[in-house]
């Protein structure tokens, strides 16, 4: 597990992360636009520290990291935890390079990733926490089918003030109702083989 494989979206693709991606990760974690929108995966650090982190995440048993690419260019990363007993997923990070915002990549990546969670891994649910003022991420979550189940008050601190946190959940049933046509592999007729 740990380092995630290829998941194709309409334009972007989640792919196996490699060490060469780490410099971009560091830049995004240092970008105040990213830091304002959500918590960082790791704080900016020296290249050697990022290499250590990369080695550690590769050994993780319940966590998965992907890099995100579009048009042959690295544009983001995704990271999450698979719950014990394989029942659900915590989507902890979905970072898109701020220079690539407002191109629809966020939704495309999120849709492809959730197709993988429900259609391929057969997980029961996915959980997400977002800052209450991150309107773009909340719109994506709503469009996918997430429902708010809790609101933490004064959770994140930035720009000299606290901001609330929204916790959201999406069930497999919602995926199946809303995104029935989303399949990675076309269905095979009964008894057919490839």
């Amino acid at each position: 597990m740990a380092l995630g494989g290829t998941i194709r979206g309409k334009k972007p693709t989640l792919r196996l992360p490699v060490e060469a991606d780490l410099a971009a990760y560091n830049e995004w974690m240092a970008d105040l636009r990213v830091r304002r929108a959500h918590s960082v995966w790791h704080e900016p650090a020296m290249p050697a520290t990022w290499k250590e982190r990369f080695k550690e995440v590769a050994k993780e048993k319940q966590a998965v990291l992907w890099s995100i690419e579009a048009d042959g260019k690295l544009i983001g990363l995704a990271f999450g935890y698979i719950w014990g007993l394989w029942s659900g997923f915590d989507l902890s990070q979905l970072v898109i390079d701020p220079d690539q915002w407002r191109k629809g990549y966020g939704f495309d990546v999120a849709l492809a990733l959730h197709r993988y969670l429900f259609d391929y891994l057969d997980l029961r649910r996915s959980d997400l926490e977002l800052r209450a003022d991150n309107a773009a991420a909340l719109r994506i979550a709503d469009r996918l089918g997430y429902v708010e189940y809790a609101r933490g008050h004064e959770v994140a601190y930035r720009d000299g003030a606290y901001v609330d946190q929204v916790r959201l959940l999406m069930e497999k049933e919602t995926w199946q109702e809303r995104w029935l046509g989303e399949r990675e592999y076309a269905p095979l007729s009964p008894g057919a083989t490839l």
């Binding site: 014990g84 007993l85 959980d127 708010e148 189940y149 809790a150 609101r151 933490g152 008050h153 004064e154 959770v155 994140a156 601190y157 606290y162 916790r167 959940l169």
Partner: protein, 180 residues
């Protein structure tokens, strides 16, 4: 890190854990009475693993942990974990391992001591937790020290043919009862 000794009421105190306390935990967490609202009742429950946990917790700068003592004997443990020192937020937890002592108010007093310490010594801004909604005793123990519901995660864990919700709580210095 381990927390300092906090003397409470009715024979309850929070004390710095010892390795012997850690070794007691493996027998506690595998008991059906204790695990009803908690973990899967399996894991790497070896003495070596407990020694590593003991060492790691002692060295950690993002968690603080105590053993809960009742009349001088260790009966469980509690702490605040994943402390973010910028947000000044952490996640709290408590296990009373001696299920024969349930109903004596040990958890309520342990939570009161822990929560008071979070505000008056650690200068935290917020503490949050997850408790099985059906675990009324634990929920009540936390509510008495100012925890309030911030949501319910539906159908989170499965026991004996039924799904149970998880209660999400949060507490702030201003929600701590004045006379607690």
């Amino acid at each position: 890190m381990f927390g300092p000794t906090l003397a409470g009421r009715n024979g309850v105190s929070l004390i710095p854990p010892t390795l012997e306390h850690y070794k007691l935990r493996t027998s506690w967490v595998v008991a059906p009475e204790v695990g009803r609202f908690w973990g899967p009742r399996f894991g790497e429950l070896t003495e070596e693993r407990q020694e590593k946990r003991f060492k790691d917790t002692a060295e950690s700068n993002t968690e603080i942990e105590w053993s809960t003592a009742y009349e001088g004997e260790p009966v469980g443990y509690t702490g605040i974990f994943g402390i973010d020192w910028v947000r000044r937020d952490g996640e709290s937890g408590i296990i009373i391992g001696r299920h024969d002592l349930y109903g004596r108010g040990i958890a309520s007093e342990a939570v009161r001591l822990r929560t008071d310490f979070a505000w008056s010594e650690l200068r935290l801004h917020r503490v949050h937790n997850w408790i099985a909604h059906a675990n009324r005793g634990s929920r009540r123990a936390n509510e008495k020290s100012g925890y309030k519901q911030m949501g319910l995660q539906p159908r989170t864990f499965f026991r004996s043919g039924e799904w149970y919700d998880e209660w999400l709580g949060e507490a702030f210095p201003h929600t701590f009862p004045e006379k607690a």
